[in-house]
Symmetry: C2
Subunit: 213 residues, 2 copies
C-alpha cells in the first residue's frame, strides 16, 4: 500500500507518519524508486502499537523508540519481560541518605519474603525508594506499610501476565504481548483500582450515589 492508504488504515495523519519514520519509530517502506515506497500490514500494526504506547501508556517518543528497539533484539525467551521493560520510564526523585536507608531496609525485607531481587541503584529500586521516601516526607509513613499488600497484588498480576504471555509460544509474539501487557496493564490496573476504591468505600461508609468523575 502507499502512504495515503497507510494513513487511512492506521488513522495516523500522513505528516505524523513521516515524523515517525524520521524518528525511527516506523521502519521505512520497501523502495520502488528513489521517491516512492510501499508499505504493508506490518506498518499498520506498528503504527497502532506506537499510538497505543503514546496515548494509553503515556510514553514519550524517546521511550517508544527504546521499547521498539527492544522488540527487534534477538534475545532468549526468559529475558522477554526484561525486554518489555527496556526503555520504560520510571519516576525518580532525590532522597537523603537517611531516608534511602530506611526505604531500602523495608525493601530488603520485602524482597526476602517474596523471593524478589531488588538490585540497589537500578531504576526500579530507585523508583520504589522514591515513592516510599515521599510517603514519609509528606507525613504519611503509614502508606508505606501497605507494601506487603501491594506486593501480593503485584505477584498475582505478574503470575497472570506470565501465564498469558508464555502461552503464546513464539518469541516474537511473546515479546510484543509482554510489552503491550506491561504498558497498557499499568493503565488498566490504575482504572480498576479506582473502581475497587469506589466499592470498598461503599462497603465501609454505606451506599453512595454513583458520582461520575
Amino acid at each position: 500500500m502507499r502512504m495515503a492508504e497507510l494513513s487511512r488504515e492506521s488513522g495516523v495523519p500522513v505528516a505524523t507518519i513521516k515524523y515517525y519514520l524520521r524518528e525511527g519509530l516506523l521502519p521505512p517502506g520497501e523502495r520502488t524508486s528513489p521517491n516512492q515506497a510501499r508499505y504493508d500490514a506490518s506498518h499498520v500494526r506498528r503504527l497502532k502499537l506506537i499510538r497505543a504506547l503514546l496515548d494509553i501508556g503515556g510514553l514519550s517518543i524517546a521511550a517508544v523508540r527504546e521499547v521498539i528497539a527492544g522488540l527487534a533484539e534477538g534475545t532468549s525467551t526468559h529475558d522477554v519481560l526484561g525486554i518489555a521493560q527496556h526503555g520504560l520510564p520510571l519516576p525518580a526523585v532525590e532522597v537523603s541518605d537517611e531516608a534511602r536507608a530506611w526505604a531500602m531496609e523495608r525493601l530488603e525485607t520485602l524482597a526476602e519474603k517474596r523471593d524478589w531481587v531488588i538490585a540497589p541503584g537500578t531504576p526500579i529500586a530507585e523508583a520504589l525508594v522514591g515513592v516510599l521516601c515521599t510517603y514519609r516526607d509528606l507525613g504519611h509513613p503509614e502508606l508505606a506499610e501497605r507494601l506487603d499488600d501491594y506486593a501480593e497484588a503485584a505477584d498475582l498480576v505478574a503470575g497472570s501476565d506470565l501465564d498469558t504471555v508464555a502461552a503464546l509460544g513464539q518469541r516474537e509474539a511473546i515479546v510484543e504481548a509482554a510489552v503491550i501487557g506491561t504498558v497498557l496493564g499499568d493503565a488498566l490496573h490504575a482504572a480498576l483500582r479506582r473502581l475497587a476504591h469506589a466499592k470498598a468505600s461503599r462497603d465501609r461508609f454505606g451506599a453512595t450515589a454513583v458520582k461520575p468523575q
Copy 2:
C-alpha cells in the same frame, strides 16, 4: 517564614514557587505589607505535595490544580476517594461502536461479579474500554482475558488503601492520604509489578543473571 526560607525548606526554586502561586497551586502567604508576605509550614507541605504529584505521579500542572481543589472542598467522608480521584487524568482513545460494545459486555460481567459500579460514559469506563479495545486492535485479545486477575488484585489493593486511610480518622488527613495514596500508589504498583515479573519469569524459565534495566 519568608520566601527564601520557604524555598530552602521545600527545595523548590523561588521563581518556581512564584509560578505555583500564580497558577493557584499554592495559596498566597499572609500579607504583612503591600509587597511582603509570610509563609508557614503548610506552604512547605503543600510544595512537597505538588512536587510529588508532578514528579512521581506524572500529573500536569492543571491536574495538580484540580486535585488540590478537591482537597479544599468540604465533603463527607464517604466521598473521600471520589475527591482523591477528582482531576486525575485517565487515558482515553477513540473506539468503534462494535469494539465498545464488546468491551462493555466484558466490563458488565466483571462489574456484576465483583459488585462494582461501572457507569458508562465516565472517564474510568472510557479508560477501561480504551485499553480493552486496544488490546484487541493490536491483535492480542488474550490480554483482555486477564481482567479477572487484575480486578482481584485491584480489590486487594483497594481494601488495603481504605483500611489505611480510614484509620486516620479526621477528614482532612483522610483526603490527603487518599490523594497521595492513589497517585503515588500507581507508581508503586507499576514498579512492584516489574519486580514480580522478574520473579515470575525466573520461576518459569529458570534462574537468570540479574540484569539492571
